[in-house]
């Protein structure tokens, strides 16, 4: 499949494949290619094969969205407080930290690499932020900026090292995570922790938007999305593709608008839309535009599908690797910043709450493949929300530690298996 895709990629002009990519909702090149190639044989294949193919394509969010609905029904029946506006608000904030780190995991998974240092990067970056703000007394935004810059810097170092040595990323990044844990300990004061209560840093997660402002943002977001979809639609028509206004613009915009309005209504019944949630979705939207509509974004998919083909086409694969790791480091660092803002402090235990595994699980549950070349930033949002919905429910009902651990494990096994199944499908 990868080879077919490469031929396809070589033959088409840059602009043409952008439009092709736009045929699928999130626009992954590999999928458009696979569908173009298998389209004619569709009817001859078994139901199972077609199902697997659908999961890899337009309906890839269907299982996890269905799962979220089932999770909500399951827990709501046990305790109605689960679907209270306040708990939904909890869930959004609980999603944000893991989700932001998972967002960084997406470009890494797209190029078929792994970064096991994300939790350590987050914790160390958050500690650096505290050094800047608490010890040096500088402005909070400067602290956040230096944390994110630090994360990107570590990412560049990792990416450069892995690109140069071609050593397995999982061991290099694991080594880096240990080194960062040491660095973090040496940065912490003798007291072993920073308390940021009372500093503006806590506002990052502690702020809720006024209701009217929340609605305004929602309307702007829906309008922007509609315009984007319509532009895609127009380009697709011009390129002579058979797309309908209803399926290409109406359905996605309608679904997004309904979901967004629903969540804003619910959040407004509690304290309003949390700022951290808006930042998280904003970052995802920008990142999604980057991966689906810019050259470098598309290269991420290309490298993950067939790195040597990309290299032969004259694109520097190492530069793409560097970029993916830098992005991952920056997102991981920002995730750490959000975590500190939420907990009101940083300690040696920051990043020890299973963030690493949760971030990987979130991206994979959301539909980003561990094998490279398939996925999208939105998978981090949906996946992180799904696993948060489960752990939130189990905490609410008060399941024992045994059940929680077993569930987490089962979830990872299931998501990875589905990923492998979809990846290995005959093309």
């Amino acid at each position: 499949m990868a080879t077919l895709w490469f031929v396809f990629w070589k033959l088409k002009q840059q602009r043409a494949y952008k439009i092709r990519a736009a045929r699928t909702w999130e626009g992954t090149v590999a999928q458009a290619a696979s569908q173009a190639n298998v389209g004619t044989m569709r009817d001859e294949r078994s139901l199972g094969a077609r199902l697997v193919d659908a999961l890899a394509g337009d309906f890839r969010y269907a299982p996890v969205l269905l799962a979220i609905v089932l999770i909500f029904i399951f827990f709501a029946f046990q305790n109605i407080a689960y679907i209270s506006p306040r708990n939904i608000s909890n869930m959004v904030l609980q999603t944000v930290v893991v989700g932001t780190i998972a967002l960084g995991m997406v470009p890494i998974l797209l190029i078929a690499e792994i970064d096991l240092a994300v939790a350590a990067i987050g914790a160390t970056a958050a500690t650096l932020m505290c050094v800047v703000v608490v010890d040096l007394g500088m402005a909070s935004w400067l602290g956040v900026l230096s944390a994110v810059a630090f994360g990107a810097f570590i990412g560049v170092l990792q990416g450069a090292w892995i690109a140069r040595t071609r050593a397995p990323a999982f061991l290099i990044t694991f080594g880096v995570s240990l080194a960062l844990a040491g660095l973090q300990l040496s940065m912490l004061p003798e007291t072993g922790q920073y308390n940021i209560m009372g500093t503006p840093l806590t506002l990052l997660v502690g702020t809720f938007l006024p209701r009217t402002f929340g609605w305004l943002l929602a309307i702007v977001a829906i309008a922007a999305f509609a315009v984007l979809r319509w532009l895609h639609y127009r380009d697709a028509r011009k390129a002579g593709l058979d797309v309908s206004l209803a399926n290409h613009v109406g359905l996605p915009v309608g679904l997004a608008a309904a979901a967004l309005c629903g969540i804003v209504v619910v959040l407004s019944m509690h304290k309003g839309v949390p700022l951290a949630g808006v930042i998280f979705i904003g970052l995802t939207a920008i990142f999604s535009y980057f991966t689906s509509s810019t050259r470098y974004g598309l290269y991420l998919y290309a490298v993950g599908s067939n790195a040597s083909a990309v290299a032969r086409a004259g694109v520097s694969v190492n530069r793409i690797r560097l970029m993916a790791f830098a992005l991952c480091g920056a997102f991981a660092a920002f995730g750490g910043v959000l975590g500190a803002s939420r907990l009101l402090g940083v300690s040696a235990q920051s990043g020890a709450g299973g963030e690493l595994l949760l971030a990987i699980t979130a991206a994979v549950v959301g539909g980003t493949s561990l094998f490279g070349g398939r996925g999208s930033p939105w998978s981090a949002v949906i996946g992180a929300f799904a696993i948060t919905a489960i752990s939130n429910g189990m905490d609410l009902i008060g399941y024992g530690t045994e059940v929680k651990l077993a569930t987490q494990g089962a979830l990872l096994v299931a998501a990875t298996s589905i990923d492998a199944l979809v990846t290995r499908r005959p093309a």
């Binding site: 040491g182 300990l185 009101l344 300690s347 920051s350 709450g353 609410l396 530690t401």
Partner: protein, 358 residues
């Protein structure tokens, strides 16, 4: 096991309590290297407090003995390798903070067969030959927490109580809970209080405790009157959850331990009720005196080895050290014990409280 906490005595004695009793003379004739084996990098007290203070105490009692600090980074297997390396290198004694108390017997057996004395420090080391044990004792800490919480709850008339335990399956978690239960169970049985939520905190991680408390508040619609945590980290997680509901300072948080700076700040700000101070310097000093006695072929002073502990293999001569309850009235005891200075404590929001302006 000794059960009294000597709370009153500790409060009255103040600074005098924290100077080591029966200080030994320095013995320059002792030479060689001993190993102080730390358990992990997340329990910062061992790295920042116990380790340096033990080195300091050894320099005082045996200036010509070299102390090596090694950290097992949370792995019992790694600790065993480190112990083997120490024995091979000809260590004179091992002071062991077990990375995992229940699987330390390998280290104990190997040390015994090489005739190396082992002194367990703070964490128990189960099912193996052990020369001495010095500890504050998790049970004792739990009892101090439980007693303080029970008395305060009885006084305030709080009814609905939420409890946060440590990591499920830890020896330390179970012992702390057992200590708390001694004081809380009678109140539960008599119906004076009702436990509305209780849960174990994965890895004692504060962010996990925060999530548990958020869910507890959601489930009860904020109707809780008191929280009993298990250490300062879990208490901090609970306070973060309360803060997001604007309830910090309105619901008392008991059950702290470690006297972390953050906890002391919360206590000064009225957001946490109490913590338990373990004067690390005293424990390090006691361990150093025991080691010096052993190296010199003597029996440690009876003022230190004041009890026994059954580690499943034998009754181990044990030194129990006193813990001190800290609340808003005696934060200065932490400073007097030399754990933190006022400059450490009085940062951020806490800098504005009266105690910090003196």
């Amino acid at each position: 096991m000794k059960t009294t906490t000597h709370l009153a005595a500790a409060l009255l004695a103040g600074a005098a309590l924290f100077s080591p009793a029966h200080a030994q003379e320095a013995d320059p004739a002792l030479t060689g290297t001993i190993h102080f084996m730390l358990p992990n990098v997340t329990t910062v007290r061992f790295i920042q407090q116990d380790g340096p203070k033990f080195v300091e105490a050894m320099a005082k009692y045996a200036p010509n003995v070299k102390v090596e600090l090694i950290n097992a980074e949370g792995s019992a297997a790694k600790q065993q390798q480190q112990a083997e390396a120490a024995i091979t290198a000809g260590t004179k004694a091992i002071v062991l903070v077990a990375a995992d108390p229940s699987v330390a017997s390998g280290i104990l057996t190997e040390a015994k067969s090489a005739n190396i004395p082992v002194v367990a420090y703070e964490h128990e080391a189960k099912d193996g030959p052990l020369d001495y044990f010095v500890q504050f004792g998790a049970l004792k800490v739990g009892q101090a927490q439980g007693k303080y919480a029970a008395e305060a709850i009885a006084k305030s008339g709080a009814k609905k109580v939420a409890r946060l335990y440590g990591n499920k399956g830890d020896f330390y978690t179970t012992a702390v809970k057992q200590g708390q239960d001694e004081h809380l169970d009678p109140m539960i049985k008599s119906g004076a209080i009702e436990i509305v939520c209780e849960d174990y905190t994965d890895g004692w991680v504060p962010s996990a405790a925060q999530k548990l408390m958020e869910q507890c508040l959601t489930k009860t619609s904020d109707k809780i009157d008191a929280i009993v945590a298990s250490n300062d980290g879990t208490a901090a997680g609970a306070i973060a959850a309360l803060t997001s509901q604007d309830m910090a300072g309105k619901v008392p948080v008991y059950g702290g331990q470690d006297a972390n700076v953050e906890a002391l700040q919360y206590i000064l700000l009225g957001k946490q009720s109490a913590t338990v101070l373990k004067p690390y310097g005293n424990l390090a000093d006691a361990a150093a005196q025991v080691v010096v006695s052993v190296l010199g072929g003597k029996t440690p002073p009876a003022s230190i080895i004041n009890g026994e502990f059954d580690n499943g293999f034998a009754k181990i001569p044990t030194g129990y050290l006193d813990v001190v309850n800290i609340d808003k009235s005696n934060v200065s005891a932490v400073v007097d014990a030399g754990v933190w200075s006022w400059a450490d404590i009085c940062t951020g929001e806490a800098a504005a409280v009266p105690e910090c302006k003196q």
